[in-house]
């Protein structure tokens, strides 16, 4: 095994070289090659119905249900051990479910072996065939389907161009950098225009900058081809930047499904709130639920107001507010505005994170609150211990059920 360090060090140089030299080649090739065989492939509708997998006593995937629309980019997001990869492997056919089914365009594929399912797959470690060159790696699914020689050539050229590897067709697969191997894996997965592409943490081994570049590229290709993608990742930023919808998984269950904005802004429970980024969760007692807004009483006796979800009932609860939605004002004056929550506290610490200043503010009788401030011109850090008032609009906060 090659450790990540040496790979990383070669990376930037190779990638820069690719970027600089690849673009003109791509344009030239685009002019020379006859029109791409099929520009749009279209995707399938996928339905997971009560998928369940047990290993011994442990239920790794617990009655998962989800409907994925044709052409949708759908992510399974969760920590390691949440069952997301097992779910993907059941869709791929490598893991046999103990319960439930997978429907593709309404057809149950339980009895179909992996090689007959016709999905494209990108594996975490790329799984590039080391004895084949780039062209043959990408041609592999076509040769396995016994395509005619000229058809294979046309389609592989198309795929090479799509992932900007035309120049590397004859290259030994083992000589490629991590990013290039990733592109080969991607091209190989889509070259036969599968109705569904399964990706298992495909960017996990890449460094941060390259990751972002590949996210954009994969998303662009997916939209251009209109393919359905089922994407597994543990990186919430990656899931949010690429997905049409995200299913947040934990302990073998889907905790919430929705578009990135929705799951970020309106998490269904504290786990989702924390997993998708920094979250303040202020514990208290849920008082009256009047209309859209509910009241939460803190142990100190102060009351906060926030939107509430249907699942939240009177009793213990948590007020959820993102750090970037909180305003920090020096002084002690409370607000009289009913549409704004206000809490007094003292600055505990201010961390400089480059684009933001992250404050930790001590409150009376509650856990400290995190506040993110844009590092804009004229914003200086407040001194430790300074009295401040935290303010945020009621409509930006949400009352969640307390954790079980």
């Amino acid at each position: 095994m090659v450790g990540p360090e040496p790979r990383e060090s070669q990376f930037h140089m190779v990638e820069m070289d690719t970027v600089l030299e690849q673009r003109p080649t791509r344009a030239v090739v685009a002019g020379l090659v006859t029109p791409a065989p099929i520009a749009r492939a279209g995707g399938s509708a996928i339905e997971l119905r009560g998928l369940t997998k047990r290993y011994g006593e442990e239920t790794v995937v617990d009655t998962i249900a989800a409907s994925i629309a044709p052409g949708e980019f759908f992510s399974l997001l969760g920590p390691s051990g949440s069952g997301k990869t097992t779910t993907l492997m059941m869709v791929a056919g490598f893991v046999h479910p103990d319960g439930g089914t997978v429907l593709v365009d309404g057809r149950d594929i339980a009895a179909v072996p992996p090689q007959k399912r016709g999905f494209g797959m990108v594996f975490q470690n790329y799984a590039i065939f080391p004895h084949l060159n780039v062209f043959e790696n990408i041609a592999f699914p076509l040769r396995a389907r016994h395509w005619a020689k000229d058809m294979i050539e046309a389609r592989v050229s198309w795929a090479l161009e799509l992932v900007q590897l035309t120049r590397f067709a004859d290259r030994d697969a083992r000589q490629l950098s991590g990013g290039q191997q990733q592109r080969v894996a991607l091209a190989r997965a889509i070259v036969f225009h599968p109705p569904l592409v399964l990706m298992d943490e495909p960017l996990g081994a890449l460094d941060k900058n390259l990751r972002f570049e590949m996210q954009v590229e994969i998303k662009e290709i997916q939209q251009r081809l209109g393919m359905t993608v089922l994407y597994v990742t543990h990186d919430q930023e990656e899931a949010m930047s690429m997905s049409d919808r995200i299913a947040i998984m934990n302990r073998g269950r889907i905790y919430q499904v929705g578009p990135p904005g929705e799951v970020y802004e309106r998490p269904a429970n504290p786990f989702v709130a924390r997993f998708l980024g920094e979250a303040n969760l202020i514990e208290g007692t849920v008082m009256a639920k009047g209309g859209e807004v509910a009241r939460l009483q803190l142990p100190s006796g102060q009351e906060l107001r926030a939107l509430h979800t249907n699942s939240c009932v009177a009793g213990r609860g948590m007020l959820f507010i993102r750090p970037e939605r909180v305003e920090i004002v020096p002084g002690t004056a409370a607000s009289g505005d009913p549409g704004v929550n206000a809490l007094a506290g003292n600055v505990r610490r201010c961390s400089f994170l480059g684009n933001i200043l992250r404050y930790a503010v001590d409150l009376e009788g509650a856990a400290p609150i995190t506040v993110d401030l844009q590092n804009a011109a004229g914003v200086g850090p407040l001194p430790t211990g300074a009295p401040v008032v935290l303010r945020w609009p009621v409509s930006n906060s949400l009352i969640l059920p307390a954790e079980a």
């Binding site: 090659v2 450790g3 992996p114 494209g120 594996f123 470690n125 799984a127 396995a144 036969f192 399964l198």
Partner: protein
């Protein structure tokens, strides 16, 4: 691959004074043994051939040519290579599924197979050869069973002929092939097979296009090892073969024991050694030996 995390001090040391590697000292005892117990006697053996020969160089060359072009030698050379080839192919065909089973299976079955391959390895080759003679003889176990089952009417001649040599040698050489193939197959990334299936390849196509090509280095290494060992085989063909199964090693033995003709024996040994070294050179080129014994 080792990535050493060096402390600043260690880095300084490494750059300021050239690191002196003394680990080679550990090899001295075995190196001495190799030189004094193998290389020196071998050299002396060949040197004596020349010094004890009374005659001119031209005469020596002529006699050498006569020997190496003699009917007996050429026949033995042909027989040796032919038997080695058949043994290699046979062993490969038997070993490939066994090695594959070992890489994929788990549990008690693996231990049973490994034991039954490795245990005989620790037994003397003569004992094993005699065991086969007992099994394959005219009134041996195999013939008795076949007769009792009514599958044959008269005992088959399974030994003291070419078939006996092939059975005996294949059995003795099987572990070398199985273990070599096993090492090669173990290094095949199973996710490649999954990728192949996931991309639409049938089981047979996956084997043909992915698994077999990736196991090929092991196949070549194993075949070369078995072939190299085969061409020097003596005991098994001597005990289990018939009169038409004379291999070169037996010819050398005869020259020494019966004819007491050291120059001929040395000459034939030298040619055998040359062929072996040539094959080993090929083997060395295609195989990373350190990887075969499990180093990474």
């Amino acid at each position: 691959m080792a990535i050493t995390v060096a402390t600043p001090g260690a880095v300084f040391e490494a750059t300021s004074s050239a690191p002196r590697d003394r680990t080679f000292l550990l090899m001295l005892p075995s190196l001495a043994m190799l030189i004094f117990l193998f290389l020196v006697p071998l050299a002396l053996f060949f040197v004596r051939t020349f010094t004890e020969f009374d005659g001119s160089t031209a005469e020596f060359v002529e006699q050498a040519r006569d020997l190496l072009l003699s009917q007996a030698y050429l026949t033995a050379l042909g027989t040796t290579n032919w038997i080695s080839l058949i043994v290699t192919v046979t062993v490969l065909l038997i070993s490939y599924p066994i090695a594959y089973y070992l890489t994929t299976a788990a549990g008690i079955g693996v231990h049973v197979v490994v034991l039954s391959i490795v245990l005989p390895y620790f037994t003397s080759i003569i004992v094993r050869t005699f065991s086969w003679m007992v099994l394959l003889g005219e009134h041996g176990l195999v013939n008795d069973l076949l007769l009792a089952a009514g599958l044959i009417n008269a005992p088959l001649s399974l030994t003291y002929n070419r078939l006996g040599v092939l059975i005996g040698m294949s059995y003795v050489l099987l572990p070398y092939m199985v273990l070599t193939l096993y090492a090669a197959m173990r290094s095949i990334d199973p996710s490649l097979l999954r990728a192949s299936a996931g991309l639409g390849a049938s089981g047979f196509y996956t084997f043909r296009r992915v698994y077999f090509p990736l196991s090929l280095p092991g196949v070549l290494s194993g075949a070369l090892i078995v072939y190299i060992l085969s061409i020097g085989f003596f005991i098994t063909p001597a005990l289990m073969g018939g009169q038409h199964d004379i291999m070169i090693a037996m010819l050398i033995d005869r020259a020494l024991e019966v004819a007491v003709d050291w120059p001929s024996a040395a000459l034939m040994s030298a040619t055998l050694l040359l062929v072996t070294l040539a094959l080993y050179a090929v083997y060395y080129r295609i195989t990373d030996i350190r990887r075969l014994i499990g180093a990474r």
